[in-house]
Amino acid sequence: MINELVFSGFGGQGVLTAGLIFSEMALKEGKEVSWMPAYGPTMRGGKANSVVKFGDEALGSPNMEEIDVLVAMNQPSMEYAEFMKKEGKVFLNSDMIPDDTDIRNDVEVIRIPCVSLAQQIKNLKGANLVMVGAVIKKCAFFEKNFAIETLKDYFKEKGKGNYNEANEAAFLAGFDAIK
Amino acid sequence: MATLHLEKERCKSCEFCVTECPKEALSTCEDLNSGGYHYVEVEEEKCNCCGLCYVVCPDGVFEIRAQ
C-alpha cells in the first residue's frame, strides 16, 4: 500500500517542512519514500506544496496522482481536492478556509484552526506542525512518540533544535485537536 | 494645488517611500492589499507633493495630480 500526502499552502507556511518531516518518519520505519516539492512554474503566485509518498513497494511518480491525505493551509490549495481518492481525508486550515467552501462530498473533511492553535501556544510559525500532529493522530501512520522524536531530530539536524519544545507543543496541539 | 494619489493595489510595502519622504507623511498600514502587502498610506496634511516618493517607488504607486 502506498500513501500519498499533499501539504499545500502559501510559501512561508511550512508545507515543504511538513512533508519532509513525514518523509523522515517513513524513512526511519524503513519504508520507501519520495518527497517532491512544487518548483518552477507551479510555484508562481507564491503557492507552494510538497507531495510525500511512502509505502513498502517501489514508488512510481513522485507527483500528485491520487491523494490520500491533503493538508490545505490556504484556500487556493483546495484546487488539489480534485486529485483526491474517494474516502480520502482533507485537513483544512479552518482559520483561512471558510466553512462554506465547496468541497467534494466523497472525502472526509477535518477542520483544524491551526493558526489559532499555534497562536495559543505562542508559536505562530508552528501552524504546519499543528497539522502534522493532527494527521498523525487521525491517520495513525506512525506512533505518537516516534513522530515527536523524529520531528525533534529533524530540527536538531537543521541546527534549530532549541525551538523543539515549542515544536512539540505545536504537534501536540494538533494531535489533541483530533478527538 | 496638487494632490498625491496612491494606487494601493500596486504597493509591495518596500517602504522606500516611507524612508525617503522629507515630511514623514507616509507609513504602511495594518491592512493588506490583494497581493498580501501592508500597503502605504499618506497623511495628506503633511504632504507637500515634492514627488520624492514617486521617484523612489519601484512599483508605480504614486501619482501627483496638479489641479
Binding site: - | 514617486y54 521617484v55 523612489v56 508605480g60 501627483i64
Partner: protein
Amino acid sequence: MAVARKIPKIMEEPTAFCAGCGHGILNRLIAEVLEEKGQEKNHILILGVGCNCNMNFTWGGDKLQCAHGRATSVARGAKTGRPDTLIISYQGDGDAYVIGLSDTINTAYVNTNVTTFAVNNTNYAMTGGQMSWTTIPGQHTTTSASGRDCESTGNPIKVPEIIAQNFDVAYVARGSLHSAKEINKTKKYVRNAIEAQLNGEGFSLVEVLAQCPTNWKVSTVDANEWLKDKVVPIYPLGEFKKREGRDDK
C-alpha cells in the same frame, strides 16, 4: 514646487519583481524618457535573460526576448532591420558582463548605434543568487557561501570603465538607485544614452546599480543602505564617456 507626475503608460501593468527591486525603478526611468522623447511606439527592448524576463509580461512597449548574454548581438541585427527605431538592450550584470562579455565588448568595438542598460545587482538574481563578476569582495552568495574570495575568483569587473577607456563609443555612465537624488541622476544618464542613439552618435551604455533585497537577504530598506555603503564605493558613479560637445547636459 509641486509637479504633476504620473507613471508612464508603458508601466501601466504592475511589475512582477520582488518588493524593493531596483528593476522596477529603472523600468520607470526608461519608460519616462521614452515618453518624453515620444518613443513609446518606436522602440524595441531586447531583453536579456535574468529577472528582467518578467518584463515580457509587464512592459507595455515592444520587446524581444533573446538568449542569455546575446542581447547586444541581437540588438545589432535589429538595428540593421529597423534603423529608425530605438533599439535598447536591457540586461543584468551576469547577462551583459559575464556570459555576454564578448557580445557587449564587440558591440562597443564596432560602436553600433544602440543602447545597453546593464542592471548591476551584484548577483545572478534570476537563478537564485549566485556569484557574479560584479559580486563585491566578501559578499555571500549561493556559490560563494563563505564570502567572495577575490584572490581566486577575480575582482569586481568594471565594464563601463573598460569600454569608455578602450573603445570609441558615444556614451558611458553608471548610476545608482539607492536614493531619490541618485535616481534622478540616473535618469539623466538614461536620457543621454537614448538621445545619443536618437542622434546616431553610436553605442551608449548605462550601468545601473540596483537593489536585490531578495538575494542579498536583507530587508528592502536595508538594501538601500547596503547599496549605498557597500556597492557604490566599489563602483564609482558618473559619466565615463560624455557625449561629444555635450558636457553641459
